[in-house]
Symmetry: C2
DNA sequence: GTCTATAGGCAGATAGAC
DNA sequence: GTCTATCTGCCTATAGAC
């Protein structure tokens, strides 16, 4: 059972990395199996199709984001909590310059295809949106909280795309500075 | 010669549509040929590879954007010029909800692969960035013009992604309202 | 549970008749 | 210039030995 989970999780993290770096459709099961050091045919013992691997990756992403929120929720000040979320994006700005934002890429690629997979990725983005909205409510923004969450999230996603496009991590870092200030004036 | 250009341009517009709706890597030459009503084998008389079709599509996108800027440049007020750019995004908000932003999708998908194609798509995004920066300079924003262009463009790209993700054109429309006001307070 | 071998299909690209 | 037929290789998925 330990070994089963071990191979399964190795496949998921390998798929997550490759989906982020190359995109879902250009990543083959052979790529994933090789990176996870699992024989190709064995992949189908753990996942019945490529689609189910994508779902497992989205679930893995959900856990990563949940852990991030658990950490953020430990911060007393709501303003600092939001500012820390923004600051955290700069930690991977080099990775963003090379491959973009992992969730944003998934939503962009899968969103067009529609179906169950797109919905699963959208759910995850919605969770982030909800968390942000909750923070703005906590800041007393009331009815404006939803729109503020939309502005913040779209700014973060947009700058990730520009950072990837221009292959320049500085964009993410500058935007983070701007947004940290913006949060204080909102 | 007329026929040559006719088939060629039919292939380019078909590819442009399919790349936008399905993504580049999932679109096959057979898909493009069928939509353009050109036999599959004949595609290679006009393009030596799929990659060269992608480059032609980016070039086609460049002309579309150039035409858009030609129109915008006819507007006297710089502020109204920028506001019109923002308002224009709402014209395709339904399409955005289904397939995202055409150029943004290209940059997202191709950006990871790197190489000549990614650079061509980035060039196009840079042209938009430059145009926006020029407007902010014209508004007397001086050194801040570059950052303001970045903020505007990332907001537009980010909201396109969220509009696609949540399959809701309202996001684009609300963000346009917000940005039109923001432009006045900047 | 694990892995090899391979089926079956479709992709990009080419050859060559017309 | 145009189009049919096809090559070659890779991809997802399965069969079945161990």
């Amino acid at each position: 059972m330990a070994r089963r989970n071990d191979k399964r999780s190795r496949l998921v993290t390998a798929a997550d990395k490759l989906f982020h770096e190359q995109g879902v459709s250009t990543t083959t099961l052979a790529n994933i199996a090789q990176l996870a050091d699992v024989p190709l045919g064995n992949v189908y013992y753990y996942f019945k199709s490529k689609e189910s691997i994508v779902l497992a990756v989205i679930d893995y992403r959900r856990k990563l984001i949940q852990a991030q929120f658990d950490e953020l929720n430990g911060i007393d000040s709501t303003l600092v909590r939001l500012q820390t979320l923004v600051r955290q994006t700069t930690a991977h700005s080099e990775q963003t310059a090379n491959f973009g934002d992992a969730l944003g890429s998934l939503c962009q690629e899968l969103g067009k295809q529609g179906g169950q997979i797109a919905a699963a990725a959208a759910d995850l983005m919605q969770e982030i949106m909800n968390w942000c909205e909750k923070q703005f409510v906590s800041l007393g923004k009331g009815e404006k909280a939803k729109q503020l969450a939309m502005i913040l999230l779209s700014s973060l996603q947009g700058i990730s795309l520009l950072t990837l496009t221009f292959k320049n991590a500085t964009y993410t870092n500058q935007q983070a500075d701007y947004l940290v200030n913006w949060l204080e004036t909102v």
